[in-house]
């Protein structure tokens, strides 16, 4: 295969990946070296506290064109990817998770992105069968909701594995939301997308699945960060509750006017107030979510802090050095 003359950047977030990071880097560099004339591999360390960083540093001395960006603490996968995108200089930028995404797919995905008019090639997981029932149902529900109701075209079963054109990255890096979900942002910015179906790998061999609450939280974050739809639902609820109240008041007034003897009314009063309180609390819950979000965005804190950046500095091996020493 001939090397293609475009410049490819690979961004990979790391978090306590000491078991897999060496293999991953070796594999990726090999693929990049044979397929592209110019490349860089940006490893973004998201606050690892094991040997991940020192293992990457070892490789900086051996391989060229590797960069290590260290965040000052753990900020989360999405922010780590953003930090990588912010400093990538390639024409095409590949985002991948070291544990799940197979490096051999890089050349094909890049050429898809390059040859098509698409700004983005999104990796899509082949199947979800291995996951528990609730997770599949939940996912279906979530995708239905985002597509039909929120009008967000989230590719189903998409993973972090993707190729972005320079144009797409330039657009993405302008989005500075605190709650970021790169998959959604890449959708938000427009540009056409192509899906690329692949079978994820599991390099570490560890069982890894998102827990129930984690999934719920993530779904809530995504929906709330990207849509005012729940707020609209609440507004409608509030409106209905108000109307019911109005009807009820009319009813009470009419009873008062036309009935000689008004009964105690214990049941209705309680029923009514309970119902109203129910609505009020639902409304307050959703409002508080949004207020919290507004607060976070209004603070305008930096998305992340960089602790350190190191680059490949391939020192000529000692043997080589000796050869050069004169006489």
């Amino acid at each position: 295969m001939t090397t293609s003359d475009c410049f490819v950047s690979v961004v990979a977030p790391l978090k306590n990946d000491e078991k897999i990071v060496t293999d991953f880097m070796e594999e990726v560099v090999e693929i990049l070296k044979t397929n592209f004339s110019n490349y860089e591999l940006i490893m973004v360390d998201d606050g690892s506290d094991d040997k991940t960083v020192s293992l990457v540093e070892e490789k900086l001395k051996i391989f060229e064109c590797i960069r290590l960006v260290r965040l000052s603490r753990h900020f989360g996968e999405e922010v780590a990817i953003s930090a990588g995108l912010d400093s990538a200089i390639g024409d095409f930028i590949v985002v991948m998770m070291p544990n799940n995404d197979p490096p051999f797919a890089i050349p094909e995905m890049v050429s898809l992105c390059r040859n098509g008019t698409a700004g983005i090639v999104t990796g899509v997981r082949g199947h979800r069968e291995k996951e528990p029932f609730w997770s599949r149902i939940g996912a279906d529900l979530f995708y239905w909701y985002t597509k039909r109701v929120l009008d967000m075209n989230l590719p189903k079963n998409s993973t972090q594995f993707r190729v972005l054109s320079r144009q797409a990255v330039n657009a993405i890096t302008q989005v500075r939301d605190q709650y970021r979900y790169i998959r959604l942002i890449s959708n938000f910015i427009g540009y056409s997308q192509i899906e690329y179906t692949y079978e994820p790998i599991n390099r570490s061999g560890k069982k890894q699945r998102r827990g129930f609450w984690q999934s719920i939280n993530m779904a809530a974050d995504i929906v709330i960060a990207n849509s005012a739809h729940p707020l609209r639902v609440v507004s409608v609820l509030g409106l209905i509750a108000g109307l019911l109240n109005l009807l009820y008041i009319t009813y009470v007034v009419l009873i008062f006017l036309f009935k000689a003897q008004v009964a105690e009314g214990w049941t209705t009063t309680n029923f009514q107030s309970a119902l109203m309180f129910f609505f009020i609390f639902v409304i307050l819950t959703v409002l508080s979510e949004y207020v919290g979000r507004i607060l976070n965005e209004a603070r305008r804190r930096p998305l992340y802090y960089i602790f350190d950046e190191k680059n490949s500095s391939v020192m000529l091996a000692d043997a080589e050095r000796r050869n050069v020493v004169e006489e």
């Binding site: 960069r67 912010d86 400093s87 302008q174 960089i306 000529l316 004169e326």
Partner: protein
């Protein structure tokens, strides 16, 4: 010209900017001074192959001492070498929005505190930058020097002062004599490899990257130094960038500014300019220039430009003409505090042998100050 068995008051090894300036400075109080240079002209290595920036403090927003020092030296240098200063461009400092170690506000406050001129850049310049990656851009007062004019000026002054100059000659070894004088063994590169022997009362080693070469070959203690192979890209810029220089601070960024001797711009990048590095250690020394000559040179100019045009899109129209490669030598500790101290070791291993190294051209005044009182 040969100085076989000749005797001098002072011999200066290295005909760079430091060596030559020091010779002229010391000539006022000394009889016979000789400058020994291994190349076939003076100011050919690091004195020429650098960004040509005359620092005025802006470059060190995290080290108040270095910044203040630059502020003091700047007007002095600009006056003393007025005919070698290139002012026909506007210099700007931009602050990176992400990955920067200082914010625009900190930068401005710092510069105001040290009294350095700083104003927001005009709209024409603002329109050139990508606000997503650059937080703010300031107009500043900073010059470039023309190393070729500097060379001619120093050559004239050396001659007027009556300093002797020995080109194509390398001091291979120095040795102490019983009468506290120093004997220098020289290699001649101009064809016949005959060896000259010169005697001197004082010797100044101003050879920058080569500083340890004389020491190692004379079995004197080696100074722990770090060497880097560096690349500066020479660019032909589009019209809108012709008469300006922009430095992006303060992190893994870049800087482009005019390079007066060639009438082009240089682009250097914190991440891509250094190619290889190594350290000098006792017993583990190699000649940096000879090592450098044999290293492969794979240009990083494309990387520099790819990154830089994200910040300044007009750089996408720049054309890479060539690159200047050179060995850059630094004191390992300056990596930590970002300051650029001078190295000055008196009587280093031998009475009368002084080793001098500075990181930037205007450090020369610090050297003069340090040597003050040595001759009275």
């Amino acid at each position: 010209m040969t100085f076989l068995n000749d005797e001098f008051n002072i011999v200066i090894i290295g005909g760079g900017f430091f060596g030559c300036s020091l010779a002229i400075h010391l000539k006022k109080k000394n009889e016979r001074i000789l400058v020994v240079e291994m190349e076939d002209d003076i100011l050919l290595r690091a004195s020429y192959a650098n960004q040509a920036r005359v620092h005025n403090g802006y470059h060190y927003p995290r080290s108040i001492l270095t910044a203040l020092r630059s502020r003091v030296n700047f007007p002095r240098f600009a006056e003393d070498y007025a005919d070698c200063i290139f002012k026909d461009f506007d210099q700007y400092y931009a602050i990176g929005r992400k990955f920067s170690k200082v914010s625009a506000n900190q930068f401005r406050t710092f510069m105001e505190r040290i009294g350095a001129e700083i104003t927001p850049a005009p709209k024409r310049i603002r329109d050139l930058i990508n606000p997503g990656l650059i937080e703010e851009i300031f107009s500043v007062k900073e010059y470039a020097f023309d190393a070729v004019k500097l060379r001619e000026k120093l050559k004239r002054e050396l001659q007027q002062a009556g300093v002797d100059l020995l080109l194509n000659t390398q001091v291979s070894r120095v040795e102490g004599l019983p009468d506290r004088k120093i004997i220098l063994y020289c290699k001649d590169f101009s064809g016949n490899l005959n060896t000259d022997v010169i005697t001197a009362t004082r010797v100044y080693n101003c050879t920058y990257s080569h500083i340890n070469q004389v020491l190692a070959d004379s079995r004197l203690p080696v100074i722990p130094l770090k060497h880097e192979v560096t690349e500066m890209a020479l660019l032909e810029l589009p019209e809108e960038l012709q008469d300006i220089g922009i430095t992006v601070m303060c992190g893994p960024f870049f800087s482009f500014m005019p390079f007066p001797p060639l009438a082009v711009h240089t682009l250097s990048h914190v991440r891509y300019t250094p190619h290889h590095f190594w350290f000098d250690k006792q017993g583990d020394y190699l000649d940096p220039y000879r090592f450098f000559e044999r290293l492969p040179r794979k240009s990083n100019a494309m990387y520099m430009l790819k990154d830089a045009q994200r910040f300044i899109p007009a750089l996408g129209k720049a054309r890479h003409l060539d690159s200047i490669w050179e060995v850059k030598t630094i004191l390992p500790q300056s990596e930590v505090d970002d300051s650029r101290p001078i190295l000055l070791k008196k009587n280093h291993g031998l009475p009368g042998l002084t080793c001098i190294m500075g990181g930037k051209i205007d450090n020369i005044y610090d050297v003069f100050e340090e040597l003050e009182g040595e001759f009275r």
